[in-house]
Each structure stands twice: as C-alpha cells, then as structure tokens.
C-alpha cells in the first residue's frame, strides 16, 4: 500500500494515462510512444521516468530499442480498490433498501432489539 501515493500521482496526468493506455496494447519504444503526442522526445522521456519510478512501467530486454512495457501490479492494486469501492457501495445500498423496508413494515428482529428499547424509553 505504501506505493499507492506514487501510483496515483503518476496516474493523475492525462499524457501519462494515454501512455499507459498505449502500453496496455503492447510494449513500445520511446519513439513509438512520442509519435501520437505533439511532444518532444525529452518531454515524453520525463513522463516515462515518472511512470518508471512509480513502478507502472519497466524497460524491455532489447538493448537497442529499450522498449517500455506496462507493469500490471501497481495498477491492479489501485484499480482493485476502486472496484471494491463501487461494488462496496452498490451492495451496501441494496442492503440498506432492505433494512429501510424492514423498518417501515415492522421487522420483528428490530422490534425486539434496541430500537424498541429506545422507543419505550421515550
């Protein structure tokens, strides 16, 4: 979890997200990566350094091309939490629907529970 800050900081930039989207389709050289952007190669290299430091990309073994490739793990860690977050709230709210329904129709579990005590205490 300690690397998530670096992951999120790296992901916050649209150019870097576009680079990752490109690399999700397969590894690419710096020249290939610079091509779709109106950006100099040094500017792209700077973004690549940030992604590399965050562990989101690594360099391939081809010594001449030094292709960059996507490292799935940090992204998986980050997206894993977002997925959890969405699923979490969707499941939550469905359960809350049921509870609210029970509260309005006089669910025996609640009647015998603390709610009744509170009501009778008033």
């Amino acid at each position: 979890m300690r690397d998530l800050d670096a992951t999120f900081a790296a992901l916050a930039d649209p150019t870097r997200r576009a680079i990752l989207a490109r690399l999700a389709r397969g590894e690419a050289s710096v020249t290939d990566l610079a091509h779709p952007f109106a950006m100099s190669q040094p500017a792209i290299s700077k973004h690549l350094k940030v992604l590399e430091r965050a562990g989101l990309i690594s360099r391939g073994r081809d010594a001449q091309r030094r292709p960059r490739r996507l490292e799935a793990r940090p992204l998986r860690d980050a997206t894993h939490w977002l997925e959890n977050y969405r699923q979490f709230w969707d499941a939550q709210f469905r359960r809350l629907d049921d509870l609210l329904h029970d509260l309005q129709t006089g669910d025996p579990k609640i009647e015998n529970n603390k709610i009744k005590k509170k009501k009778s205490a008033r």
Binding site: D5, L70, Q92, D97
Partner: protein, 168 residues
C-alpha cells in the same frame, strides 16, 4: 430484494466525487440507518462474506467514529474512521474519513445531505479529496485506461510479452 435503483457516482468540481441514491423511505429512517451502530451493522457490510465487528459512533460535532470490517474467509480486516464536523439530525452530516490502509493520499471529507420528497429520500454524498490529482486518480484513471475489469487478463498476457522480447 427491494431496490429503487437510482445510483450514480460522478466527478464534481475539482476535488469531489458525488454519489447519489434514492431510497424508498422517509429521511429520518435513512438518517438513523447512517448513524445508529445497531442499524449500520445490518447494511454497511461490504461484499458478501464480510462482517462489521466494530462500529463506534459519537454522533456530535467533534465526536469520533470507527468502523472495522472483517473478511470471514481469510480473516483480513479493513478499518476506517474519522471525526464528525457537523451533525444536523435527519438532514446533514459532515464527517472526515481516513482508511487504515490508505488507498488514496490524505484525508477525505464526506458531506451527506438527505432530502425527502413524497416519502422518498434522495441521499447526496459528496466526498472531497485533498487535491484534484487524488480525486481524478480515484475516479477516472482506471476507467480511462479501460482496464478495471481486465487487469487479471493483462497480467497473464505480460509474461508472453517478456518472452517475445527475449526471442527478438
């Protein structure tokens, strides 16, 4: 299963995510369900297989809360907590949230507003993050990259890329 179905998560402004949901109940019940531990423990449970062994609430401005969920299968725990900044019964809650294992940088501030119309309640939960970068990262990035659902497949695909690089 009874569901009113209106559930939306969207970006708002620079640093916010807004969650809206309509419930088929008056707002005093929704408020109770959000603030009474014995009720919270019945719905705020996360995915199937999780329980909520700890739910402590001191419902007043400056009061603290603490939630801990437990995965019944592997025993792992996820905890979070924070401080209430504002409590207006049945209407509005402002509260901070920090996860024990931070999955975004800094502290977030939740504002929960309940509006009732014809016996139905619209919940608007605004989560304010510490920066635009954090908000964007939390909300947008994985979707923009389009791999939220496919990372497992991607990970299987990566070793073959490595082999291709070796044989090249």
């Amino acid at each position: 299963m009874k569901s009113s179905g209106t559930f939306n998560i969207a970006a708002h402004g620079d640093r916010e995510i807004v969650v809206t949901r309509v419930f088929d109940a008056p707002r005093r019940l929704v408020f109770d369900a959000y603030t009474k531990p014995e009720l919270i423990k019945r719905w705020l449970l996360g995915p199937d297989g999780w329980s909520m062994p700890i739910c402590e609430i001191d419902l007043r401005a400056g009061g603290k809360y603490r939630y801990v969920w437990k995965n019944e299968t592997d025993g792992s725990e996820m905890g979070m907590g924070g401080v209430y900044r504002e409590v207006v019964p049945t209407e509005r809650i402002v509260v901070t949230e920090v996860f024990d294992e931070a999955w975004y940088p800094g502290e977030a501030v939740d504002t929960i507003v309940l509006a009732e119309q014809n016996g139905r309640t619209t919940l608007t939960q605004t989560i304010l993050y510490d920066s635009r970068a954090t908000r964007d990262a939390v909300l947008k990035s994985p979707m923009q990259i389009g791999m939220a659902a496919s990372y497992d497949r991607l990970e299987k695909f990566l070793p073959s890329l490595g082999r291709e690089a070796l044989s090249a």
